[in-house]
Symmetry: C2
Subunit: 223 residues, 2 copies
DNA sequence: GGCAGAAACTGACTGCGCTCAGTTTTGTGA
DNA sequence: TCACAAAACTGAGCGCAGTCAGTTTCTGCC
């Protein structure tokens, strides 16, 4: 009958603790031994539960991975938006945010590969959480675009949401290709490719006058 | 010492035949029972080889699937380009081609899901073949763009290859999201989303003058 | 033809993700 | 306090993808 007991029903508390224990166990084992080399039985044992219990909390081993990654990505993105460079171009801001995500993926390519592969093919609950994340990033990018549109720096006739959405799609596609390639390429390569893709997409936001001017010098190469 | 024997060394011939038999067996079993419900042992048995032999020809069950799909997609794309509508806009042409691919995926969503998920995470040989396909589509789309640039219909200062590349990335990302969603949505939905994405990307190709004109009426809604 | 070495093939076996029939724990109402 | 239902948990067991030590088939050479 302590004060603590009032906060939550005992059952619910236990469940949350077990879920957290499983996530923690999985996180540490994945980091130490890698995703493929870690068995679900090990994770369950380390979390102090039976082998079958893991699957009451996560639909599959992949599901568990996505849950972990999803949580980490939130922190990465929050930090990236909090440290946006001042007075930078939209392109720079985009690369700052997506660059942070890429850097995170680069820390453990094996996990990243598995995550990116499974991301969209998990249990409904997890899938909803992934979409929430994607939409969250999209909305924040859209806000950065809208800001500039309001200032008259970018064409306000173009839908900020749709441009943001396209950019995320471009990011995902490039990231997958990069991770699929047995990551022989440096992340700088990926960032360079992404910059090109974004540049091409963002050009649609340039006010018509600016664009007409640009046309005079057909190609802008060498920085 | 017959004439036939001269064509290829016996061994090589046998290998090709076994590979073909495995592909045919897998194709028919996947179609009848579904991908998940078909075991590699069944496929091997139907092809008349031992269970282990399958893995001398394909690195994994997924690899086998990708090999099958890849071959079919070639035919689908070839057909799509051969039946391009006359005097249509670039956007219409793009939707014709990608629409054909989507229609193909819609025929067997379970297989399509597995394919799209594994596509970039297969054995090196298969991966190369997948990239060949992607590049092939990209090049053909780029050619359609270049044609219009040469005619003066589109801005020649924009790289046709890069626009085509971005379009493929947009396609892949949208397709994955659609297939991941337990395909409750009709393919028309996907096509509509894709049209929006392409529209936004292709706008970069509009000659500057045309674009300045368009700006007069800020939004083009209702068809 | 016959032999040696290589290449191709085989299927019993392994390890692991996931299931499910049975057991324990928790919450509730008398 | 006890009975009893429901929820949570368990781990032995199952099915299957993928492996590998041993076997067969092929090829080039004398």
């Amino acid at each position: 009958m302590s004060a603590v007991a009032l906060e939550l029903p005992r059952r619910e508390r236990n469940k949350q603790e077990k879920r957290a224990a499983l996530l923690a166990a999985a996180r540490s084992l994945f980091a130490r031994k890698g995703f493929a080399a870690t068995t679900t039985a090990e994770i369950a044992a380390r979390a102090g539960v039976g082998a079958g219990t893991l699957f009451l909390y996560f639909a599959s081993k992949d599901d568990l991975l996505v849950a972990i990654f999803r949580a980490d990505m939130d922190a990465v993105v929050a930090r990236a938006f909090a440290t946006l460079p001042k007075r930078a171009s939209l392109l720079t801001e985009l690369l700052h945010v997506y660059g942070a995500m890429i850097a995170f993926h680069e820390r453990d390519p094996e996990l990243a590969r598995a995550f990116v592969k499974e991301m969209l093919f998990v249990s409904p609950a997890n899938l909803a959480s992934v979409f929430e994340f994607i939409d969250g990033v999209g909305a924040r990018i859209a806000a950065r675009i809208a800001l500039r549109q309001a200032r008259g720096e970018l064409d306000p006739a173009v839908s900020a949401e749709r441009v943001a959405d396209n950019c995320f799609a471009l990011y995902i596609a490039r990231l997958q290709k990069w991770l699929g390639l047995g990551e022989r390429l440096a992340s700088e390569e990926l960032l360079a490719r992404l910059r090109e893709s974004f540049e091409l997409q963002l050009r649609v936001l340039e006010p018509a006058e600016a664009r007409a001017t640009k046309r005079a010098r057909p190609r802008t190469r060498r920085a």
